[in-house]
Amino acid sequence: MTAFAALAFVLLAGGSVCFLTRLFRGPSIADRVIALDGLLVTVICGIMIEVTREQSITSLDTVLIVALAAFIGTSVLARYAERRSEEGGGD
């Protein structure tokens, strides 16, 4: 299980590097929101793999909180972007 977890962590690190690239480069707010959402999903997968590696579910409740925070952050930022474009702010 440790070898599988190490391989999965390497893959997750590659994915988070890709998401961070888009987070820094993204031309609009929506690109950054998408990258942030993907980063939170990467965090969720990482916590789940860590729970499986340690065989203890003490930190599994964190996954629920992170999933809820990801949805609330995405919806709030989408409403912010929409309202700012309605006011004619550009970008």
């Binding site: 599988f4 977890a5 893959l11 890709c18 929506a30 999903v41 969720i44 997968c45 474009s85």
Partner: protein
Amino acid sequence: MDVIAGLFMVLGAALVLIAGIGVARSWSIYARMHSVAIAPTLGVTSVAVGLALSIRSTTGYVTAFLVVILLLVTGPVGSHLLTRAVYRQMQSALDSVDELARDESSNS
């Protein structure tokens, strides 16, 4: 059983990596949203299946199931909100067919 669980975890992590590559290299915002949608659905589901196969506790099963259901429900809602914001912001369609503008103009 642990080998199967580890394979599911590696599969989920690989799907997250694929989603990241798609987000980093796609050319349009719609294509990026299309490619990021695989991470919270199939990626997290595979990792949760691996967790449920490996761990031996009912609380673990229930929490993993709740996480998967939560992500499957909230993913399309957030994606819909974001797509509407992008559509209002760009004021232009990708191709010549703009069905939302056509429907809105025919309704009003």
